[in-house]
């Protein structure tokens, strides 16, 4: 299967505006940032969590802790994947007990990644509350999981792929809808 770009739905400015809005919503939901920490799901959730922390610091003048969660060991689909993903380190350098943890990812789709993220997080301690922030919600949930903060809702078909690029990993910021082209 090959992928073909179909439509760019966000550029760098749109992504920044979405993250700024989410940052405001996180602050509002917790009435400030006391006890709040951000944990990005590797890979693209990591840079997005750091950017949200930057936005929150700009607005509130206070830095919230940021961690990165690797969920490879918590996936329920490892035996069905053609290539085994590399396991990376989970880097959550603060105590999550009693905190409000905002889990951050680029796209929510079936909800299985988030479920794995919740399992991984709970093995690190007992947060007071876990919230979910995503840049894109593309629908098609297979589990009863709903994000608390969404950058953009994007209705998609199952034949489409939502591809998020971030400067830190991909060299530029954009969100593109791609479609699968069946091979002849």
């Amino acid at each position: 299967m090959q992928l073909r770009d179909k439509n760019q739905i966000m550029d760098s400015m749109a992504m920044k505006r979405a993250l700024t809005r989410i940052a405001h919503e996180i602050i509002e939901a917790s009435k400030g940032v006391h006890g709040v920490a951000l944990v990005g799901i590797r890979r693209r959730g990591g840079p997005l969590a750091t950017r949200l922390a930057d936005e929150i610091e700009y607005i509130e003048g206070q830095r919230v802790p940021v961690g990165i969660l690797d969920i490879t060991l918590y996936r329920d689909d490892l035996t069905t994947l053609a290539n085994q993903p590399m396991v990376h380190r989970t880097e959550v350098p603060f105590d999550i007990n009693g905190k409000t943890i905002v889990l951050v990812d680029d796209v929510i789709y079936t909800g299985r990644t988030v479920r794995a993220g919740l399992d991984a997080l709970i093995d690190l301690g007992r947060p007071k509350r876990i919230q979910l922030a995503v840049l894109i919600d593309r629908g098609h949930r297979e589990l009863p999981i709903k994000p608390d903060f969404v950058g953009k809702n994007v209705p998609t078909s199952l034949e489409e792929v939502v591809s998020v690029s971030v400067t830190e990993i991909d060299g530029d910021d954009k969100v593109v809808i791609q479609e699968l082209i069946p091979e002849n």
């Binding site: 060991l73 994947l81 396991v87 990376h88 399992d119």
Partner: protein, 313 residues
């Protein structure tokens, strides 16, 4: 080919450098799990790991069992000394019986070199060699390489001296195969009666005196001396052995400034290693044991985690 595409882990000799690096890299996040309050991840849930040890080894067996449990596999141990093996059952029949009980991975130690290779050819289970005769002990070499890399930052170009009974040591052989793949200068030293003929053909330098072999070494890997070798007449006395080859505090000055000492355990204090060295800050014995669990977690995960339908059976 990545290591995750292999059916079995039988030795270091036939592993590529990329495969070794994949295992060592995967062991880093595994070690993180050992430091957590909840030392368990669900990745091997529903998988079975059985350890079958035809030779005694509490620590390697326990290390594999814990590695499996921390990854949520179901682990079990066949106690060979009380099993049907004592009633004359053949190795092949024993393995077939285990196979139909349904485990996915068989971890095996055997006194005969090549026994795991024979088993691997005759079973659909994945086989991990936990030491076969005088041939190989791959996970020990992997944990040694992990410990060295963790301390030195790299394996590339280091000088590693292996001291002791090279002739009978599967740890030495696996270490030699692994370290030479990374461009290490590997030196071996021990009594000439315990040195294999033509050992240099494995790409190592051999010495019969300890001091020149230690000069400038970054790592000293001290092997356990099996005392029964003395009864077999392979060296005159334990006293003579310890006089000539025991690592003592005065040897530290011969090493590189940040030289470290490894020992696969269990240690014979006062025979191959002095107590001062065994308990000293540059000796990584306890860390090696921890790293052993992490490396075995990495091996189990890589062997079980991905799809390998193309090589099943």
């Amino acid at each position: 080919m990545g290591f995750d595409q292999r059916k079995d882990l039988l030795g270091i000799r036939d592993l590529g450098r990329d495969e070794i690096e994949q295992i060592l890299d995967t062991a880093i996040p595994m070690k993180d799990i050992l430091k957590r309050n909840i030392k368990k991840v669900p990745v091997l849930r529903g998988k079975g790991v059985i350890t079958v040890f035809y030779e005694n080894s509490t620590r390697t067996r326990t290390s594999f069992e814990l590695a499996g449990k921390y990854l949520s596999a179901d682990t079990s141990n066949l106690a060979v000394s009380t099993s049907s093996v004592q009633k004359g059952e053949t190795l092949r029949d024993t393995i077939k019986t285990i196979e139909v009980m349904g485990p996915d991975i068989l971890v095996m130690r055997h006194g005969m070199s090549g026994a795991p290779h024979y088993v691997a050819r005759n079973t659909s289970m994945r086989v991990i060699n936990a030491g076969d005769g005088t041939n190989e002990h791959p996970t020990q070499a992997l944990l040694d390489m992990f410990s060295i890399r963790e301390h030195k930052g790299t394996l590339e170009g280091l000088t590693v001296t292996i001291v002791g009974d090279i002739l009978h040591s599967r740890v030495a052989r696996s270490n030699i195969y692994g370290l030479t793949k990374f461009g290490c200068e590997v030196r071996v030293v021990g009594p000439s009666t315990l040195m294999p003929p033509e050992i240099e053909k494995l790409g190592v330098k051999s010495f019969c005196r300890l001091e020149p072999a230690l000069a400038g070494a970054d790592v000293v890997n001290v092997l356990r001396l099996q005392k029964e070798r003395q009864q077999a007449g392979l060296f005159p006395s334990l006293d003579e052995y310890s006089n000539l080859f025991m690592i003592r505090p005065e040897h530290l000055r011969l090493l590189a400034d940040d030289g470290i000492i490894l020992h696969p355990g269990p240690m014979n204090r006062g025979v191959e290693i002095s107590s001062e060295i065994a308990d000293g800050p540059r000796t990584l014995v306890n860390e090696q044991v921890t790293n052993g669990v992490a490396v075995r977690m990495a091996v189990l995960f890589l062997m079980m985690g991905g799809s390998r339908s193309e090589i099943a059976g």
